[in-house]
């Protein structure tokens, strides 16, 4: 099961990115109701060549399997790397080439 899915397309120097991450995004209250322990991604960062292009810290109150979209100035062919950290401090990372 893929932990994240990344799509990045460049047009006129601007790269449009769509990324979806697998996570229940269950904060404390929701986790209790479901009988599980809280499970959500709390931090996402995206980099191209070590330069941060996107960075967000989140609570569990984002929708399940969060899908984020953003743009940045970039070039075709560059590698876009996403890293996520969840509330248990587990890290996932994935890379996609900008089309």
């Amino acid at each position: 099961m893929a932990k994240m899915k990344i799509k990045a397309k460049e047009k006129n120097g601007i790269v449009k990115v769509k990324a979806m991450f697998t996570s229940l995004m269950a904060d404390k209250e929701e986790a209790i109701k479901k009988g599980i322990s809280p499970s959500y991604i709390r931090y996402i960062v995206a980099k191209v060549k070590d330069a941060v292009v996107y960075e967000v810290t989140m609570s569990g109150f984002m929708s399940e399997n969060p899908l984020v979209k953003f743009e940045f100035k970039g070039n075709k062919g560059d590698q876009l790397t996403f890293t996520t950290i969840d509330n248990d401090n587990k890290t996932e990372t994935d890379t996609q080439k900008i089309k």
């Binding site: 099961m1 899915k5 979806m20 899908l67």
Partner: protein, 373 residues
């Protein structure tokens, strides 16, 4: 003077006729009322009390679909006090020494009356029950067959995991399993004398994949379609009878609720159904059972997928998508106003990451086997 009177009469006539020409919507009594599972319900839940009132009379009349398959067809409505949950279809297959029940309806009393009606056709017990998916309008009659006839219940694991709190890895209760099962929306919606006696019965045996079974002399293929209409959907194909019992993967005459499912999965499920040779198809909701029974569902999901993908291409903002994709072809179907916008909205989320060459990804995407720790 005369003109004024005519105008006044015209206005009055218009006002009087307004309820008839504008009456297209379904009123939800208390839209912000949510039940324990955060599902909206149309009616209040009443504290349970055992009563001595006459049992609800579902007035069930089985309809013969083929030589050895009979079905009960429910109303095309949401579960309400007035229909006592009789809004889904369930079937009985005549085996050598037993009826095989495919889905058992919304309550203990429903199953009891259904069996009584089937006994008039052939006086056989129900030793096997097969469940299609976890939605509670399809299997709340199970405990009647368990308690009175010790029937074996086959069904998807998701029933036990999501409704009885069993562990999703072992399929058995664990320390988190709730003592008291949740009040499902069906239990909350019905009058006491209809829901009395209903308890959530666990599925005895689940399969991992499509399985061929021969039970009570009936050859069957229990086909897994996975994440389609709900988290885990299955349908039953009877090759000798050329009948396919599909439950909620197909509905006709009304719009489905895809709130718990995915469009890509639904389309794949419909493909799997079409790939088999049958003359009769019994949907989960709806009355059409001939070879065209699945056509509406195929049309709905194909249009939904194509038009929403178009909307995504055109960069329509998600909260405008329901105004943009209205699926006019289905406006006259039951429950269109209540359910279709939600389906459109949900499919936008699903299809945002869709790639043409990733049709099979639907099955991989939402797998229960998680490798955490």
């Amino acid at each position: 003077m005369k003109i004024k009177i005519i105008i006044l009469l015209a206005i009055v006539a218009f006002v009087i006729s307004m309820p008839f020409i504008f009456n297209k919507s379904v009123t939800i009594a208390n839209p912000s009322k949510l039940d324990a599972d955060d599902n909206f319900i149309l009616y209040e839940w009443v504290e349970p009390r055992t009563g001595t009132n006459k049992e609800w009379d579902y007035n069930l009349k089985p309809v013969q679909v083929s030589d050895r398959v009979w079905c009960f067809f429910g109303a095309m409505e949401m579960p309400t006090k007035e229909n006592a949950g009789d809004m889904s279809n369930s079937c009985y297959i005549q085996g050598n020494d037993s009826w095989i029940a495919w889905d058992t309806g919304p309550s203990y009393i429903y199953a009891k009356q259904a069996h009584a009606a089937m006994r008039k056709i052939a006086d056989l017990p129900v030793k096997t029950v097969i469940v299609s998916h976890e939605h509670d309008d399809h299997w709340l009659g199970n405990n009647y067959y368990k308690e009175t006839q010790n029937a074996t219940i086959y069904g998807p694991k998701s029933v036990n995991v999501n409704y009885l709190g069993f562990d999703e890895h072992t399929g058995k209760p664990n320390e988190n399993t709730r003592e008291i099962p949740p009040q499902t929306r069906m239990i909350r919606a019905l009058y006491q004398n209809a829901i009395r006696g209903t308890k959530l019965a666990a599925v005895d045996e689940s399969f991992d994949d499509t399985t061929e079974l021969t039970l009570h002399g009936v050859k069957m293929e229990y086909v897994k379609v996975g994440y389609a209409h709900s988290e885990e959907d299955w349908f039953l194909y009877l090759p000798e009878d050329k009948v396919v019992l599909v439950a909620d993967v197909v509905m006709n005459g009304r719009v489905t609720s895809n709130r718990d499912g995915i469009v890509v999965g639904q389309l794949n499920a419909l493909k799997a159904i079409k790939a088999r040779d049958w003359n009769h198809l019994v949907p989960g909701h709806g009355f059409i059972t001939d070879k065209s029974a699945a056509d509406e569902a195929i049309q709905y999901f194909t249009l939904l997928k194509d038009r929403v993908l178009e909307g995504i291409e055109d960069e329509i903002h998600p909260d405008m998508i329901t105004k943009h994709v209205t699926l006019e072809e289905f406006r006259n179907k039951e429950l269109y106003y209540l359910l279709s916008p939600g389906n459109v909205f949900r499919s936008y989320e699903e299809l945002e990451m869709y790639d043409d060459d990733e049709d099979e990804a639907a099955d991989e995407e939402e797998d229960e086997d998680e490798d955490d720790e």
